[in-house]
């Protein structure tokens, strides 16, 4: 009896410490891969990186705008899919000349604008009309063309 519980105890410790390590590793990976420095390791992101650095939003990371922040699992899942796709496109040399935001990405960005600036836009309607960045076109990636 005593031996069995001891063994279970040992297994429990091993599993939990492994889990803890895995969690820490994944959190760290997520953190490391959301920094502007990491995103700009692909040189096609250089203009976005530089404009971001010089903007009022330089204190937040790329993920703070470009990934869903309402749910951690959602964010990680989106990061994984989107990041993998980006890497595939980049490494196969298919990066477009002009980077345009995808439709689902526009929704994510809009939700993040509102998430931080909730108090500012409390008195106006933020749905059904234009997205924030359709007027605020320079935030934070500087002068760029934006379709209506």
């Amino acid at each position: 009896m005593l031996n069995k519980s001891r063994t279970w105890g040992k297994i429990a410790i091993i599993i939990s410490s492994f889990l803890a390590l895995a969690l820490v590793a994944s959190f760290t990976t997520v953190r490391m891969t959301e920094s502007p420095h990491f995103c700009a390791s692909c040189h096609v992101m250089q203009p976005m990186y530089e404009t971001h650095l010089q903007s009022t939003h330089s204190s937040i990371t790329c993920n703070d705008c470009h990934t869903p922040q309402d749910n951690y699992l959602k964010k990680v899942a989106y990061k994984g899919i989107s990041g993998t796709w980006d890497a595939y496109v980049y490494f196969t040399g298919q990066s477009p000349q002009i980077f345009e935001t995808k439709e689902n990405s526009k929704e994510i960005i809009q939700a993040n604008c509102i998430r931080c600036h909730q108090d500012t836009v409390d008195a106006i309607k933020t749905t059904g009309g234009k997205k924030c960045f359709q007027c605020h076109r320079n935030t934070p990636h500087g002068e760029r063309s934006q379709k209506g």
Binding site: D119, T120, V121, D122, A123, I124, K125, T127, G128, G129, K130, Q134, C135, H136, R137, N138, E143, K147, G148
Partner: protein, 466 residues
């Protein structure tokens, strides 16, 4: 043995002392956290009061203002009267600034009294004071000035329009207010003017089912449009069935054989165009880029950290910083120069077109007084005058001096000048004194590479591309 005095504070067991210390630490931590929390509450205004339900017919903006004080305060700014280079909100006479208007509008109310408009706040005052309103005026003239109009139309139907203007005056309480554009229950934008609802219905669309982006244009467009009164019922109708371009609208009127008045000097059946801002703006670079009326004329403004729509509906030139600069990051001076460039050129072209139409009137009048005038040619000349002056008026009555759609404005004015010239030429021909034979009637194919008109027998030789 002397009694040992008790030590103060009493030194209990170690565990008890630790408990006491822990409690103090916990309290201190709690206090610190509370202080931080208090400091971290949001700065800026308190959030807006939740709407608890206005009366469905509430017109008084002061009542709406209790729920939306910031919007109400900005709405009150519509009282202000100040000029811009080509417009503004000061009630000055157009007829004094451009005297040729008196000739163009002779025999019609606009030739007697025609002023620069003021803000929405003055809608009722100004319609009561303008001399174009006479005992013969219909209730239709109230349509766009007060919420009373759509409310009474909803009750009385088409028969309302024919009532005399004065019959409605006693029921009018407010000028353009919140009710005209917002649903009192939900605050959603909605079109209240029957003329626009009907115009959309005729095209199989429900205007009030539009997206919010579209509504931010439509609630303005419901009044800032070209319209006419049906000859029999006096119903307010938008002539949009063929399209929104000036050519479409003139065609509409021509097909209906409609005219607003007969010019006493030229005898032309005339068309009056009224403030076609919606039609002019449609198809412009801004409109097709997704900009709505409210984006420039009711821009978002910041009060502290709170954004709200300014309800001071005025020239965006008066608040360039919030109207233009969110999208256009050039300097204020650069932007003002762009606006000025467009407007000053449109104004000059407008005056040229206006004066050409005055010449057309004089040419037709002179011809009509000539013995043995060719009446058929004269009738044709009058048609060109009707069209030419309608195109001129399209830009004259529109309130942006070309800015809403500079391409369309200048194109329309070029058509106005062309038509007015044709009228002059034909009138002169009708009177037997052709202006210049080589100008008249040049078929397009007969002009060669040098641009000189050729004789009808010669064939045009087009050189091969190198």
């Amino acid at each position: 043995m002397l009694p040992v005095p008790p030590q103060y504070p009493p030194r209990g067991k170690k565990s008890e002392r630790m408990n006491a210390l822990n409690k103090k630490l916990i309290l201190l931590t709690l206090l610190t956290v509370l202080l931080f929390a208090a400091g971290c509450t949001t700065q800026g205004q308190a959030p807006q009061k939740k709407l608890t339900g206005l009366n469905p017919g509430e017109e008084d903006p002061a009542v709406w203002g209790k729920y939306y004080p910031r919007q109400y305060e900005s709405y009150l700014k519509n009282k202000e009267e100040s000029k811009t280079e080509f417009g503004g909100s000061v009630r000055e006479s157009h007829l004094d600034k451009k005297p040729y208007l008196r000739v163009l509008f002779k025999g019609y109310g606009f030739g007697e009294d025609y002023n620069e408009e003021r803000g929405h706040f003055y809608a009722v005052t100004d319609v009561k004071e303008i001399k174009r309103i006479t005992p013969k005026s219909a209730a239709s003239c109230w349509n766009c000035k007060t919420p009373t109009a759509p409310k009474q139309i909803a009750k009385e139907g088409v028969s309302w329009y024919k009532k005399p203007f004065a019959a409605v005056t006693k029921d009018v309480k407010h000028p353009i207010t919140c009710w005209d554009c917002h649903d009192p229950k939900t605050m959603n934008l909605r079109v209240t003017r029957q003329n626009m609802i009907n115009a959309f219905k005729r095209q199989g669309k429900d205007v009030n089912a539009s997206t919010r982006k579209e509504m931010r244009t439509y609630v303005c467009a419901q009044c800032h449009n070209e319209y006419y009164f049906d000859k029999d019922t006096k119903e307010v109708i938008n002539p949009w069935d063929n399209g929104l371009n000036p050519r479409n609208i003139v065609d509409y009127y021509d097909n209906k054989k409609f005219s607003d008045w007969k010019h006493p000097q030229s005898g032309t059946e005339m068309l009056k165009m009224q403030h076609p801002e919606y039609e002019m703006f449609s198809g412009s670079v801004h409109q097709t880029s997704g900009v709505a009326c409210a984006d420039c004329h009711m821009p978002y403004v910041l009060e502290g950290y709170n954004k709200y729509s300014s309800h001071w509906m005025t020239s965006p030139v008066k608040n360039l910083d919030v109207s233009c600069k969110p999208c256009h990051r050039q300097t204020t001076q650069w932007l003002k120069t762009r606006i000025h460039d467009i407007q000053v050129r449109t104004n000059e072209t407008l005056d040229i077109a206006g004066e050409e139409n005055v010449r057309a009137i004089r040419a037709i009048q002179t011809a009509a007084d000539t013995q043995g005038v060719d009446t058929a040619k004269l009738a044709e000349a009058r048609k060109y005058h009707r069209t030419g002056q309608a195109y001129w008026d399209w830009v004259s009555a529109e309130n942006s001096m070309g800015f809403h759609n500079s391409t369309k404005a200048l194109h329309t004015l070029s058509l106005a000048i062309n038509n007015a010239r044709q009228a002059q030429v034909l009138a002169a021909e009708a009177a037997g004194k052709p202006l210049n034979p080589s100008i008249v009637d040049i078929p397009k194919k007969q002009i060669d590479q040098t641009g000189e008109p050729k004789q009808p027998e010669d064939k045009v030789k087009v050189p091969k591309q190198p």
